[in-house]
Amino acid sequence: MTAGHSQQNAAVVLLFIHLCFSGGYQLTELQVGLCHLCNGTVQNGTAVSQFCSASAGLIDGRCCLLRKENIRDADYIIGLYVSLSLDLSNCSLSRVEDLQDAFSATTIDLSLNPIVNLDDSLFEGFIQLANLILPANLVCPGGNASWDKVKVKGETHFCEGQKDICNQTGYLSLNCPENSLCVPYGPGFFQCSCVDAFRGYKCLREGEFPIIQVFGPLAGSTVLVSILLWLTQRRKAISV
C-alpha cells in the first residue's frame, strides 16, 4: 500500500513540475476552483470514476487528471498532454455559472443536481468535450443534433460524442465571411478563423509587409539624390 502511495505522490510531484513547464496554469486554478467546488472526491460508481480507474489517472478532489504522454525525442516535457474529467454529480448545485476553467475537459458529470436550467453558452469553447452527463430534466447543449448519441437513463441524460457542426448539412446559414473557415468551438458553437496567410481584424490582411526591402532602398536613394542636388544646385546659392 505504502509503496503504491509513495508512487502516487511521486507521480503527483512529477506532474506538477511538468505542468509548470508546460504552462499548466489553468489546471492549477482548476485544482483550487472547480475540482474542489464541492466536497469529497470522485464519486464511486460514476462514469468518471470508472474511466479514471481504467486509465490509471490521478484523482484530485472532483477531477481526474489523465497524463497522456506524447513522446517527442527532443522535448519530452512539452509533449505532455493532460486530459481532464470533472465529476460534479450529487453536489447540490442549483445553478452552474461558470465552468470556463474546465474548457479542456473531456468528460463532465453534472447529474444528480437540482439544476433548473443550463445556459447554452456555458459550454462555449469546450472543443474536447466528448461526454456530458446531465440531470434528466435538462437538454443537451446545442440540441440533440449536436451530439452523436443522446440517451436518457433514469435520472440522467447522457450526451455523447460532439458532432462537428461545420460538416452538418442542416446548418445552411453557417457561412463564414471571406478569407475565413468554420472551425467547431463546442456543442452547437463554431468560430470563423482566418485561413492561410490572412490575419488581423476580419481577416483583411494578407502576408507580411517587407519593410526592409521597401524602406532601405528608399532611404538610400533619398540621401543620394539630396547630396547630388545640393552639389549641383544649392552649393553656390546666394541668399536672397
Binding site: 481584424y201 490582411r205 533619398t222 547630396i227 549641383t232 544646385q233 546666394i238 536672397v240
Partner: protein, 503 residues
C-alpha cells in the same frame, strides 16, 4: 540697380529642369498621399465597423476578429464620417490656401515648401499608421489630425506655382504650365498604384509608404530647390511674348501679351522676379506683395474663382469617391477599383495639356473652357449610365476626365498665372501666389461643401442623383464664366473683322 547679367536671353539651364521636376514631384507626392486616403476608404470602413449579420443569426466568434471594433455601428455611419473628413480637410485646406498665398509672397519659398511637405507627412503617418498600430480609434483625433493636415498641405500649391512662375516667364507659359499642371493627375495615378499594391498588407501600410515617400520628398526639396534664378545669379529672359496680339480697347485681360510691344521698356533683374519697367520709372526696391482684398478685386479673379469652385467640386468628388463608388455600385474589389480610377486622371492630363495648347494658339482661354464644359455635361450623363463592363467604364471615365480635368487644370495653373501677372498690376505688385491662393482657396471651399453633400445625397437618394448634382454644378461653372466668354468672343469677332478690313 541692375545686375551685369541682365540683357542675356536666358536659356533653359539645368536649373530650370530641376526646378520643374522638384516642384512637379512635390505636388505629385502630396496628391499621392491624398489619393491614398480615398483609395482605402473601403478598408478603413471595414476596420471601424463590426461584421454585418442578419438579425436572426448570432454574431461571429471570436469577437476580437469580427465584432470588436465598433467606432461606427454600420458602414453607412462610417461612410458619412468619411465624407465629413473630406469636407473638414478641404475647408481647412481652403483657409490655409488663403493664408499660404500671402505667406508665400513674403517668406522663403523653400522653407515653407519643405515644412509643408514634411509636416503633412508626419500628420498622415499618425492618422493612418500609428492609430492602427496602437489600435486607437477616435473620431475627434481623426478630425483634428485632418484639419492639421489640410493646413500644412495648403502651403505647397502656392509655393510651387510661385517657384514655377519665377523660373518660367510668359513665353510658352501655356504649354509649360499645361504640362506641369499634370502633376496633380500624375500624383493621383501614383497614389492609386501605391495604394492598390500595398493594400493587401493592411491600409496602415498604404499610409506608411506614402507618408514616408512624401517626407523624403520634403528632404530632397530642402536640399535641392532653388526658388528663383536670382539665387544663382541668373536673370529671367527678356519678355518677348509668344506673339504680340493687338490689344483691344476693352480687353481687360490680354492673356498672351503684356507690355512687350511698348517702346523703351527696360528689362531689369529685380530680386529674380520678372518685372517689366515701363519707360522711365525710377528704379525701386523689390515689388511689394499685393494685399488680399486688392488681389481679390483684380479683374477676372472673382468669376474664375467661382467657376473653379463648382468645377473643383466635381473634380474632387470623382477624386475622393470614385473607388468607393466603383466597388459599391459594381461590386468590384477595392484594388481593382483603385486601378480603374486611374483612367480619370489620364484623361485629365491629356485634357489639360491639349486644351492648354489650343488656348495658347487661339490666344483665348474662356471659349475653350466653355466648349469643354458643355461636352463634360454630356460625358457625365454617359458615365452615369455606364454598363458594368470594365473596359467601357474605363473609356467613359477617361472621356469624362478629359472634359472636366482639362478646364480644371487650366484654371488652377495657367489662368491663375495669367491673372497674377496681368496688365492691371503693371508689374508693380507681387500677386502670383496670392491670386493662386485665392482661386484655389475658393475652389476648395466649393469642393469641401460638395463632399459633404455627396455623401448625404448618396445615402438618401442614391448615386444617380449624385451624377445629376455634378451635371448641375458643371452648368453653374459655365454660367459663372459666361461674361468672360462673351467678352472674349466679341474680341475675337472684332479681330477678325479688323483683319478682314485690312486685307
Amino acid at each position: 540697380m541692375s545686375s551685369p547679367c541682365c540683357g542675356f536671353l536666358a536659356q533653359y539651364t539645368h536649373h530650370h529642369l530641376v526646378a520643374f521636376l522638384l516642384t512637379f514631384f512635390s505636388y505629385v507626392l502630396l496628391h499621392a498621399s491624398r489619393k491614398t486616403f480615398s483609395n482605402v476608404k473601403v478598408s478603413i470602413s471595414a476596420q471601424w465597423t463590426p461584421s454585418v449579420q442578419n438579425a436572426s443569426s448570432p454574431a461571429f466568434s471570436p469577437g476580437e476578429t469580427w465584432e470588436e471594433n465598433n467606432l461606427f455601428a454600420d458602414s453607412d455611419g462610417a461612410t458619412l464620417f468619411l465624407g465629413v473628413l473630406d469636407t473638414i480637410f478641404l475647408f481647412s485646406y481652403a483657409v490655409g490656401l488663403y493664408m499660404s498665398g500671402v505667406i508665400g509672397d513674403r517668406m522663403n519659398l523653400r522653407y515653407v515648401l519643405s515644412f509643408g511637405l514634411c509636416g503633412s507627412a508626419i500628420v498622415e503617418f499618425v492618422f493612418g499608421t500609428l492609430t492602427e498600430w496602437l489600435q486607437f480609434y477616435n473620431i475627434y483625433l481623426y478630425c483634428g489630425l485632418w484639419v492639421l493636415n489640410g493646413l500644412l498641405q495648403s502651403a505647397v500649391w502656392p509655393c510651387v506655382v510661385a517657384v514655377m512662375g519665377n523660373w518660367f516667364g510668359k513665353s510658352g507659359r501655356g504649354f509649360v504650365f499645361g504640362l506641369w499642371s499634370a502633376c496633380a493627375s500624375v500624383g493621383n495615378i501614383l497614389g492609386a498604384f501605391l495604394a492598390s499594391s500595398v493594400l493587401k498588407y493592411g491600409y496602415e501600410y498604404a499610409f506608411l509608404v506614402t507618408s514616408v515617400l512624401q517626407f523624403a520628398g520634403g528632404v530632397v526639396v530642402f536640399f535641392g530647390l532653388l526658388t528663383s534664378p536670382k539665387e544663382v545669379g541668373l536673370c529671367l529672359e527678356s519678355e518677348t511674348g509668344l506673339r504680340p496680339v493687338e490689344k483691344d480697347a476693352d480687353s481687360h485681360r490680354p492673356l498672351m501679351s503684356d507690355e512687350e510691344d511698348e517702346e523703351g521698356s527696360e528689362e531689369v533683374c529685380d530680386g529674380g522676379y520678372y518685372t517689366i519697367r515701363q519707360g522711365d520709372e525710377e528704379p525701386r526696391e523689390t515689388p511689394k506683395a499685393i494685399g488680399f482684398c486688392q488681389a481679390f478685386c483684380l479683374p477676372g479673379v472673382l468669376p474664375y474663382s467661382l467657376a473653379y469652385a463648382c468645377l473643383k467640386l466635381v473634380n474632387y468628388s470623382f477624386f475622393f469617391w470614385l473607388p468607393f463608388y466603383l466597388s459599391r455600385n459594381f461590386g468590384w474589389k477595392e484594388a481593382q477599383a483603385d486601378r480603374l480610377s486611374v483612367w480619370y486622371d489620364v484623361g485629365g492630363i491629356i485634357g489639360g495639356t491639349i486644351q492648354g495648347l489650343i488656348s495658347d494658339f487661339m490666344g483665348k482661354r474662356a471659349p475653350v473652357l466653355a466648349v469643354s464644359l458643355l461636352l463634360a455635361m454630356g460625358a457625365l450623363v454617359g458615365y452615369s449610365h455606364s454598363p458594368p463592363d470594365q473596359v467601357v467604364n474605363a473609356a467613359l471615365l477617361a472621356t469624362t476626365g478629359f472634359f472636366i480635368g482639362g478646364p480644371s487644370n487650366m484654371i488652377s495653373s495657367a489662368i491663375s498665372a495669367d491673372l497674377g501677372r496681368q496688365e492691371a498690376l503693371r508689374g508693380s505688385q507681387e500677386a502670383l501666389a496670392t491670386v493662386t491662393g485665392i482661386v484655389d482657396g475658393t475652389g476648395s471651399i466649393g469642393a469641401a461643401a460638395g463632399q459633404y453633400l455627396v455623401s448625404v445625397i448618396e445615402s438618401k437618394l442614391g448615386w444617380m442623383f449624385v451624377f445629376y448634382f455634378f451635371i448641375v454644378m458643371t452648368g453653374c461653372s459655365i454660367v459663372f464664366i459666361l461674361p468672360l466668354i462673351v467678352t472674349e468672343i466679341r474680341a475675337m469677332w472684332r479681330e477678325r473683322r479688323a483683319r478682314a478690313q485690312e486685307l
